[in-house]
């Protein structure tokens, strides 16, 4: 409106000057008067925006309801409220842009909309942008109101996995961790043994001592007697494919679900991210699961270095020797990484004194139903055949449910 009024002013002045007509010049008074009256009318002001989210932490695929409460005290005109959304946060219901008219009375409105994070991560919904204009559109205000909302989208942890619990010997066994690094004593009785210097008095079995004539103590199982270390490839070959379905995204979900199960059995669980140098030492408890998920999410969008699997294993040598863990390597093995994978797996086997074969979970980007997928698939089959002897190999094809892969894998681990 302001532009068109200025246009009228110029038009009248130009025509008046061209024809030396004071009457035409005088016409400029009309748009100028409208501008003057408009300048005296205040746009809506005294704005308060309160925002809240139904949840601050959601599993992927879940929705969050954002509630907005707006109060405008003074002025007359249009109030436009806009909540910008990050690209990976989809609007599923309602609208994040709303317009209201503020009359003579104070305006108080409440509305909500629902959003769904499409990818894992921490999202910040910035403050609301509020633009107001007076009824003539000659004055407007702009401001940022309300508070930022932070939403954490975490991967889905499959807590109930149908595992085929056949009464047969497990094909993959988790080796016992060396005595020195085990955790606190549990209440599970293990055996009676001879007293050793330093044993606490409360462990002495007095009845057995009296019967046998030598000091005997009760031995209990220690917590965290088994250790699992996940080595997850965080390099670029894991970050291809469709958004939300990249091998890395799927790896996060798989590692989180497996860790949940292992931690419930009081195992020590550790994590190493190849390409980032990030290592979480083996530990037990639900806090470790939280840490692992957070770490994997942190490095989701970070460009990784060129560190190879074999180099990562070299770096972890001390830990692998100390804990003798079951190593689970999650990667998308291709021709370029074949050599380093073989070397790394061989080193792990040697460090574990051949007690347990490491597990290689190969996460594919392409299915065999596309021309490029067929070629990659042929290549993969040849590579994995070569690696068969060094590791227990599990393949995860695109479209295959995480629960199915987990069920297959956990059924084999004893």
């Amino acid at each position: 409106m302001k532009k068109s009024l200025m246009g009228y002013v110029l038009w009248a002045l130009l025509l008046g000057a061209l024809f030396l007509s004071p009457g035409m010049l005088g016409l400029a008074i009309v748009p100028l008067s409208v501008l003057a009256v408009g300048a005296l009318v205040d746009p809506p002001k005294g704005i308060t925006v309160r925002r809240g989210a139904s949840r601050r932490e959601v599993r992927l695929g879940e929705e969050v309801e954002v509630r907005v409460k707006v109060r405008v005290e003074r002025g007359v005109g249009t109030v436009l409220i806009r909540d910008p959304l990050p690209r990976s946060v989809a609007l599923v219901e309602g609208s994040n842009v709303r317009a209201f008219f503020k009359g003579l009375k104070p305006l108080e409105v409440e509305y909500s909309y629902r959003v769904r994070p499409e990818l894992r991560g921490v999202y910040t919904l910035p403050r609301s942008e509020v633009t107001t204009r007076n009824p003539l559109g000659t004055r407007h205000t702009w401001g940022l109101h309300g508070e930022e909302i932070r939403i954490r989208a975490v991967p889905e942890v499959l807590k109930v996995v149908p595992v085929r619990e056949a009464k047969r010997k497990a094909r993959i066994s988790v080796p016992e961790t060396s005595y020195a690094v085990r955790g606190a004593l549990s209440t599970d009785f293990k055996e009676i043994r001879n007293y050793q210097t330093g044993d606490p008095m409360k462990l002495i079995n007095w009845k057995a001592t009296a019967r046998m004539g030598e000091v005997l103590v009760n031995e209990f199982e220690r917590e965290g007697k088994k250790t699992v270390v996940f080595i997850v490839d965080a390099r670029e070959n894991m970050k291809g494919g469709k958004a939300g379905e990249s091998p890395y995204e799927r790896a996060i979900s798989l590692v989180a679900s497996m860790s949940h199960r292992f931690l419930r059995k009081d195992y020590h669980v550790g994590l190493y991210l190849i390409g980032t140098g990030k290592f979480l030492p083996p530990a037990t408890g639900p806090r470790q699961l939280h840490e692992m998920v957070r770490t994997m999410m942190e490095f989701e969008r970070v460009k990784a270095s060129g560190e190879s699997f074999a180099e990562a294993v070299e770096r972890l040598k001390g830990v692998l020797a100390k804990y003798t863990p079951l190593v689970i390597y999650v990667s998308n093995v291709l021709e370029g990484t074949k050599g380093e994978t073989r070397r790394g797996l061989a080193t792990i086997r040697a460090l574990g004194r051949e007690r347990a074969r490491p597990i290689l979970i190969d996460v594919s980007v392409h299915g065999a139903d596309s021309p490029e997928g067929t070629l990659v698939e042929l290549e993969k089959r040849a590579i994995l055949k070569e690696l068969m002897g060094t590791a227990y190999i599990v393949r995860w094809m695109p479209g295959e449910e995480a629960g199915k892969v987990l069920g297959r894998l956990l059924g084999e681990i004893g």
């Binding site: 024809f19 007509s21 035409m24 409208v34 436009l80 690209r87």
Partner: protein, 282 residues
């Protein structure tokens, strides 16, 4: 529907007024009035734009009006002017400035109504409700313009007197509007800087402090333009963007005060919807 009726009322008034004015100088009776009215309403019906139709009516009207009121034509073409002016100024529609004022008022109203209609389409309900508040304001401004012109005419000099009051009012409005910003009645300053997602930094300088806000290219994963916010106690003296080996001083695009807060928006580059996807992926 509400807009359609308002637009038609404005167009019809302008068309009839122009038709009557032309009819008075062409001695064509109602035939000229009806013909011109039909032409102008036809323009409105075919284009759907009231402002175009009213502007056409106004241009048609201002041709004889400008000839009649011109001080240049009597000197340049005295004989032709005498014949034309005799015909034009004889008509009651051209001997006074009231009809052209009315036409300009109608043209502004048409523009306003169409502007609101566009808003209504986007805002769904909030645009149209401005109409009952806006029309009285335009009428008030129109009455004010007429009153000032009349005062100017009574004062003797048509031009200087006519300009004094609206310009004084405009100045007063601007003073009221910006008084709060310039007067420093705010206690808090919220600075928002919108920059493209490149590696760099934004430096905000105030008389008391210097604040550096980092911009990283990885922010472009989620946002088309990154909005950095800083809360300050005083108005910034200078806002600088450093990135890609260059340094640019930014000037505020929007500044407005609400309560005790001064909002300042700085933007680098073209206006973008910060959440929309880029036009081209690379």
């Amino acid at each position: 529907m509400r807009f359609g009726i308002a637009k038609l009322a404005v167009v019809l008034s302008a068309a009839v007024l122009t038709g009557l004015a032309y009819s008075s100088i062409l001695n064509g009776g109602y035939a000229v009035t009806v013909a011109l009215t039909l032409i102008i309403v036809g323009v409105f019906a075919s284009s759907g734009s009231a402002s175009k139709a009213v502007f056409l009516a106004m241009v048609l009207y201002t041709v004889p009006y400008t000839i009649g009121a011109s001080q240049f034509l009597p000197v340049a073409f005295p004989t032709t002017y005498r014949q034309l002016a005799g015909l034009i100024l004889k008509s009651s529609y051209f001997s006074t400035a009231l009809p052209v004022f009315a036409l300009l008022g109608l043209s502004i109203t048409a523009d306003y109504v169409e502007g609101l209609e566009r808003w209504e389409k986007v805002l769904k309900g909030a645009g149209g409700r401005n109409l009952p508040y806006g029309i009285p304001l335009i009428l008030l401004a129109f009455a004010l313009a007429l009153m000032v012109t009349r005062l100017g005419e009574l004062g003797g000099g048509a031009l200087p007197g006519a300009f004094v009051l609206p310009i004084a009012l405009l100045a007063l409005g601007l003073v009221v509007s910006y008084a709060s910003i310039e007067g420093g009645s705010y206690r808090r300053v919220l600075v928002a800087v919108e920059v493209p997602p490149v590696n760099g930094s934004v430096l905000i300088e105030t008389p008391d402090e210097e604040r550096v806000l980092q911009v990283s290219r990885s922010a472009g994963f989620e946002w088309r333009a990154v909005r950095l916010e800083a809360e300050l106690r005083g108005r910034p003296r200078r806002v600088l963007f450093r990135g890609e080996g260059r340094e640019r001083i930014l000037s505020p695009l929007v500044e407005s005060v609400d309560g005790e807060t001064l909002f300042l928006l700085y933007r680098l580059g073209e206006k973008v919807n910060i959440q929309s996807p880029p036009k081209k992926f690379w």
